[in-house]
Amino acid sequence: MFTHAFLGSNDIEKSRKFYDSIMGVLGYHNVAPPEAGRLIYAGPSGTFIVAPPYNGEPASVSNGHTLGFAAPDDETVARWHEAGLAAGGTDEGAPGPRSAAPNNSHGAYLRDPDGNKICAFHMRH
């Protein structure tokens, strides 16, 4: 359903530290060269880009927006959350089952260094 998602950054080095860590847990690596000033995590089924906004204005967060990454198992969800907290993220919900998710799937929530809300879910369908 998704080709890619963008999130805005006001400090790409802070974002690099954070996203290199949590995307690495999920098996994705930044493929953009350091001088690109942006981060591109490319997988066989989707791309995730973190960059300063094109319009030159500061990046700001959306209220209501959450970007959910797929994790292969519950243990990876927990490692993802731990890695995020150690790399400049803040807790928005500890790893565990979520009653609103299909079949009480395990998920965990973080805010990135810019305040964007993200989560990782091992979906049990």
Binding site: P52, S62, G64, N116
Partner: protein, 131 residues
């Protein structure tokens, strides 16, 4: 496995959001269902897109720097998606047309009624893009 499990977006007006997203996801051939606070689209195989009143009950806002890219099967679906968006409270952020993002693609950009930036892209076959 898709990179994304799901994407949520906020709305202050579920009825308006359902009208916009029912029409735009129908153009992409993606089914949905309504929920008390909004709607969901997609399936376990593809991932889900959800629109809902924010959990904190504060106003829904859009980001600067955030974009959600949706997959279309064909350029005609991209055209239909863009048209459906404009007819249902969306605004144009880039008309449908070919774009070169590492691979030949055909895409279009809109903002939903809250201002969230969305795009839909179809991957073009190399020979079709060259013609």
């Amino acid at each position: 496995m898709s990179m994304y499990s799901h994407v949520m977006i906020g709305t202050d007006d579920p009825e308006q959001a359902r009208a916009f997203y029912d029409a735009t996801f129908a153009a992409l051939g993606i089914p949905g269902r309504h929920t008390p606070r909004g709607a969901f689209y997609g399936s376990p195989e593809t991932g889900f897109f959800g629109v809902a009143i924010p959990r904190d009950e504060q106003a829904a806002t859009h980001a600067n720097g955030g974009t959600i890219g949706l997959k279309a099967g064909t350029p005609a679906q991209v055209d239909a998606w863009h048209q459906a968006a404009l007819a249902n409270g969306g605004t144009c952020e880039g008309p449908p047309g070919p774009r070169e993002y590492g691979a030949p693609m055909y895409g279009a950009y809109v903002r939903d009624p809250v201002g969230n930036k969305l795009c839909a892209f179809a991957l073009l076959a190399e020979d079709a893009a060259a013609s």
